[in-house]
């Protein structure tokens, strides 16, 4: 009597062991274990997400803190000098260690305007050619590589080249035009890339629509593509202006490290070395001015350095804000009201 029961229970037991054994390798579905496993995975994913968010927040906070600290420190040190009467309107005295930075401010803008006058048309032409005309092939590749190489040249090297070619070779000596041309070489690759990007972002459909109406590539470029890209182009130009405005190294050997002792803004005698508008006179940008007088050491000179730094920084900030405002305004104007 007992035997069969025993054998049955034995069989049951064996079966039980079999099930639990196969359960451990996953062939039998255990909802509770499965849910626990998924919950654990889920919790881990959420924890990772929280951790990543935390790390990224810290990184961005760090970046903001660095920028904020720099801006605050420069303003803290410089605003006192900046707001002194005459700092922006008086010329430098005693080789820059006293007086104001009026001439340096003027020269910076003079250099900037000349640079943009040369570099914007050239860059626009180059970008239009690369985007609209150049067939995919060696010419386009070589031109693109050349632009990239130019953009990664150290600006001091551009300055050396400008000195040897324009100041010495062309006999322009230390002059505003020599500096402007050196800055142009520094600026062209940045602008070409910006304008190229802006033109490439105009939808292909706009181009096709023009061509399908019997317009030439040139008509399409002038009437549709450039206007469509205009806001991005202007933003690019103004942002590059900010970089040009703060450039020092490329100017050290080209436009020189001093402005004439006295500039005459009313003179239209463009050959006179004291005529403010003479492009063949030497000039000194704000950034070069900082470099020059930083080594002077006297407390007054230090004050002027900080004041000039604050002025430079504020100008660049204004350029950046202006780039956005101008970009938006133009995009509104071009696309109708």
């Amino acid at each position: 009597m007992l035997n069969p029961v025993e054998s049955v229970s034995g069989a049951n037991g064996a079966a039980g062991v079999g099930t639990s054994g196969s359960g451990s390798v996953g062939s039998v579905y255990d909802p509770r274990a499965e849910r626990a496993r998924r919950d654990a995975l889920r919790r881990r994913a959420i924890a990772q997400d929280k951790f990543a968010t935390g790390v990224l927040t810290v990184i961005i906070a760090l970046v903001l803190a660095i920028v904020g600290a720099m801006v605050f420190y420069i303003l803290f040190e410089g605003v006192g000098t900046l707001v002194q009467p005459g700092f922006l309107t008086e010329r430098a005295r005693a080789n820059g260690t006293a007086g104001g930075v009026a001439y340096q401010l003027f020269d910076s803008f003079f250099l900037l305007v000349l640079t943009l006058l040369i570099s914007v048309p050239v860059s626009l032409g180059a970008a239009v050619f690369l985007v609209e005309y150049a067939p995919d092939g060696p010419v386009k590749r070589i031109a693109s590589t050349a632009v990239e190489t130019l953009s990664s040249l150290p600006s001091i090297v551009v300055g050396m080249f400008g000195f040897l070619v324009f100041s010495v070779g062309f006999g322009w000596k230390y002059s505003i035009i020599s500096g402007a041309v050196a800055l142009t070489m520094f600026n062209i690759p940045i602008l070409v890339r910006a304008i190229q990007q802006a033109l490439e972002d105009v939808p292909r459909a706009q181009r096709d629509a023009c061509l399908a109406m019997g317009l030439t590539r040139w008509e399409a470029t002038v009437h549709v593509l450039i206007p469509s890209a205009m806001s991005a182009i202007v933003t690019g130009v103004v942002l590059s202006a900010g970089r040009v405005f703060g450039e020092a190294a490329a100017l050290l050997f080209t436009s020189g490290m001093s402005s004439p002792v006295r500039l005459n803004f009313l003179s239209l005698n463009f050959n006179s070395p004291s005529c403010a508008w003479n492009i063949f006179r030497p000039g000194e940008s704000l950034a070069v001015h900082i470099y020059k007088i930083y080594g002077e050491g006297s407390a007054e000179a230090q004050q002027i350095v900080w004041g000039t730094a604050a002025l430079l920084m504020i100008c660049v900030l204004i350029f950046n804000v202006a780039a956005r405002i101008a970009g938006r305004a133009i995009s509104r104007k071009v696309t109708g009201q």
Binding site: A205, Q206, A209, C210, A212, G214, H223, V224, G336, Q337
Partner: protein, 279 residues
């Protein structure tokens, strides 16, 4: 030089053959546009094989077929837009107004003024509604303000858009709805007074109501023009077209009256396609 002479000669031969073939048929007017053995290669890829089709004024022709079958490629041959693609080569004859346009000497600018095109995505220029229409005619030499005003109104009326936009002609075209933008693109094409209009899936980005508006519009602009429409929507083809051509794998498989194509397809491939056996 020799090549182009040959093509021109064969074009003329085709035209003659066509004229004699048509002499006994019921067609009175010569077709405005027809193709003979058009082939297209994208580099080494043979995208379209020996396609011959005829398009008459007053008729709407639908080009149907699965994706990648060559129907859009064929459409883009008719105004030689394919020439804008690097590595694309078109052979065969495309006879428009009795002369072969598939020659290196063909004036693309002149050609595309009389063969209009509307694209899949509405693509108005980022300009005002008025400028969208006036811009191309002005580039082509129409400078007179009064004539331009009149042309803009005419074109917008032609595209059934005038009543909706007449008070905001100076507003940006990109603020219009998708359907309105597409009708503006049709108006823009009409402004050049084309006698052939190519539409490349013009409704595929639009809602049903805008689609209906475009379909009605197509019927009204077909008067005196050949309309050729590429569509994925077979109901649309039956609703708007007089003739239909079915493309499959780069080949024009079957063409005929739209009713025959959908009710009594002759080829097995078309039957399979209509039955949804492939798409």
């Amino acid at each position: 030089m020799n090549d182009s002479k040959q093509t021109a000669a064969s074009g003329a031969a085709v035209a003659d053959a066509f004229a004699s073939e048509q002499a006994g048929s019921k067609l009175v007017e010569k077709p405005v546009l027809y193709t003979h053995n058009v082939n297209v290669w994208y580099n080494d890829h043979h995208a379209l094989d020996d396609t011959s089709l005829t398009f008459n004024k007053g008729e709407i022709t639908a080009l149907i077929g699965p994706s990648g079958c060559g129907k859009s490629t064929f459409l883009r041959c008719l105004n030689l837009m394919n020439r804008e693609i690097d590595g694309c080569q078109i052979t065969g004859d495309i006879i428009y107004r009795d002369h072969n346009i598939n020659t290196p000497e063909e004036d693309l600018y002149e050609l595309r003024r009389s063969i209009g095109m509307v694209f899949q995505q509405p693509n108005p220029f980022p300009k005002s509604i008025y400028e969208n229409i006036a811009f191309a005619p002005r580039c082509h030499g129409l400078r007179d303000k009064a004539s331009l005003d009149q042309l803009v109104e005419e074109s917008l009326r032609g595209a059934a858009l005038w009543d909706e936009v007449k008070d905001k002609l100076k507003k940006s075209a990109q603020d219009l709805s998708g359907g309105q933008q597409q009708r503006l693109c049709i108006a823009r094409a009409l402004a050049l007074k084309p006698d052939v209009i190519l539409l490349d899936e013009p409704c595929s980005a639009l809602d049903p109501i805008s689609t209906l508006a475009i379909e009605q519009l197509m019927t009204s602009i077909a008067d005196g023009r050949a309309i050729i429409i590429v569509t994925h929507n077979m109901e649309q083809a039956t609703r708007v077209s007089n003739r239909t051509a079915f493309f499959y794998m780069g080949e024009m498989v079957e063409t005929g009256e739209t009713e025959q194509i959908f009710n009594a397809p002759r080829t097995e491939k078309l039957q399979d396609y209509l039955n949804g056996r492939f798409s």
